[in-house]
Symmetry: C2
Subunit: 418 residues, 2 copies
Amino acid sequence: MKKVKIGMLGLGTVGSGVYKTLKRFDNVEIVKISVKNIDKPRNIEGLDESILTTDVYSIINDPEIDIFVEVIGGVNPAWEYISAAIKAGKHIVTANKELLAKKGKELFELAEENNRVVLYEAAIAGGIPLIMPLKTILAGNDITKIEAILNGTTNYILTKMDVEGASYNDVLKEAQELGYAETDPTGDVEGFDAMYKITTLSTIAFGQRVDVNKVYREGISKVRAEDMKAANELGYKIKLVAIARICEDGRVDVRVHPTLVPKKATLAHINYVTNAVGMSGYPIGDIVLSGPGAGEFPTASSVIGDILNIAAEIETTDYPLPMMRCKHSDDANIVPISETYNKYYISITAPNNKGVIGKIGTVCGNKNISVSSIMQKGVSENNTADITVITEVCKEADIQAAISELDGCNINSLIRVM
Amino acid sequence: MKKVKIGMLGLGTVGSGVYKTLKRFDNVEIVKISVKNIDKPRNIEGLDESILTTDVYSIINDPEIDIFVEVIGGVNPAWEYISAAIKAGKHIVTANKELLAKKGKELFELAEENNRVVLYEAAIAGGIPLIMPLKTILAGNDITKIEAILNGTTNYILTKMDVEGASYNDVLKEAQELGYAETDPTGDVEGFDAMYKITTLSTIAFGQRVDVNKVYREGISKVRAEDMKAANELGYKIKLVAIARICEDGRVDVRVHPTLVPKKATLAHINYVTNAVGMSGYPIGDIVLSGPGAGEFPTASSVIGDILNIAAEIETTDYPLPMMRCKHSDDANIVPISETYNKYYISITAPNNKGVIGKIGTVCGNKNISVSSIMQKGVSENNTADITVITEVCKEADIQAAISELDGCNINSLIRVM
């Protein structure tokens, strides 16, 4: 059997999972791996160290290599190497969500010009079968809505806060000690990771290019233990939800922010590092795909799936995987967050004078905001009252204006409700 | 653009969904539909009645037609037409779970001999993307376990029994009136439908042919409202679960039966006509795919997905969809139900003499069955006691032997526990 030859860039967590798992298949073979430091001790069973190199171009320029696997992450230098590899005739498998979100258009145009495919199942929702199903068996659908938990670190932190009643800072520290959060956790906790993923996922699902710079993003670092508790009492869980939907006017609403999810929704039960993607469309209706969103082996499952599919098709055709290509070029018209409509959870600390509930009601009324529920609990020692408001659906600009008019009140939290 | 021409056999619920939805795509076209009765009034918007025929062979023998879509169900005459269509050079798309379970081996061998593909996404779990993901992006995995809810009718009945505390017969009658169950509900309620589906699903997932005649099957018609209530109190829901797993000795355990599912498991929350498929494997870990398991439009989504994938590939290659082919020929060695190991829920009505709990304990002990919990509630007017037992994991043959020794006791229910 002819073996399809593979060169890989990177041998970190994902790369070593791919190396170990791919050895079980006899129609594909990793023949070169580019690493930064060739002498770094590596604990990878059965690793043939003779295939390691520090010269990426020895892979890119090797005519025997058919598939270039990129698992280093980040835009630079990944983009330089991937674009050179495509021009050199290689098909690409990447797990690089940031590159896809920021360079997707150039990447897919370059791939089509060179009749090469770029697969990236591992970049979004780790091991969950998502991109290939969307582009193949779900191709007959108009997808109109995605609601997803796409970041394991933040879902772990929020689950722990919920289960233990602990504060964000305490749980973050514990997550860092356990390796679930990085030393600089910004990329995860401030929602950048989920933003990159929903940018590419919505681009594919809607067939319109979503500009990552126009995606609204809000992280979880301001979510308080008190919000978690209040949400529970009201019948919700707080999750970092990535949302993308086609509006009635054809514009596209894409964003990532903490969200109160009703307990009866599937996403409310997706806990710890598990990811889940809910999608709605015609003719299919609603589906939910859930599973491990990260980790050495789940991610390897997706990288290897991409590799095996390219390998099978290039044996028999010069135009492999027609369904997996990205040919749309329309730019999505993104709705600014101020023009979106949502329900809101608002936590307010107010001076405990008799008129404060009335004032909140009046300010909301003046902005056309209907209040769904309002709850005041006791009065604290310093004579302030904690008030929790849930609104009906209203315009983001109106809620922001209303809040700015609540002078004298302290707005602890404003969280959108699913 | 060249249109790929399609002939369809059947224009019932699924067929009309396919016809309506496929009109949105300009690279494929249904040119002939074979129906039993051409004069039957049909309420299908925009149907071109001139393409209807009663002569299936006018489709099979039309050299212009590339894809033969079969949506009539049943083994005969579907097998005759499909095999003739393959020999005539057509690719096949079918939603026929019974045919796949009973004739899968012959079907896929015939297809390979003729270099034609047979796709059947709609046959198992309706709209849920399952077969194509398993054969493509998950191809790098060794799947070792499947636990699935694959029949919407029984899940609807069990959900209603749970929510309303109603009896099986009352809910079945209501389901029949609403069209969720057929006049003769046997195929659904006795587990045949789920058995056909898990037979094919496990064959694909494990890469070994599962003989449908060796799959253990038990329906839901004996599940009592009292079992539902007791299960709830013990922290479970009762679901008709299709199970397939690779045992430690390499044998394959495949079966369909009512199962007590712990409330913390995802399957416990899959309600009404929704289906869900949980799979475990290496390297991926655990995933759950859920969505609509039946219905005109979800099923159409899968049929159309299959059609679009065949259409895209036959434009560019003479060996389309290499990953979707079924090439394994090993027969699975199926474990008989008597040799499986399970936990059990047992409901017993016993004469209320002092020794009965002791007797149950002694009989179980003699058969190496550990009791996890035993609960006796009150004593009824006729001086009998209702006793609920949950066992630890034990052998099916032992539990059956133990039950046969409980003379004088009435065994109301014996249900396996997940």
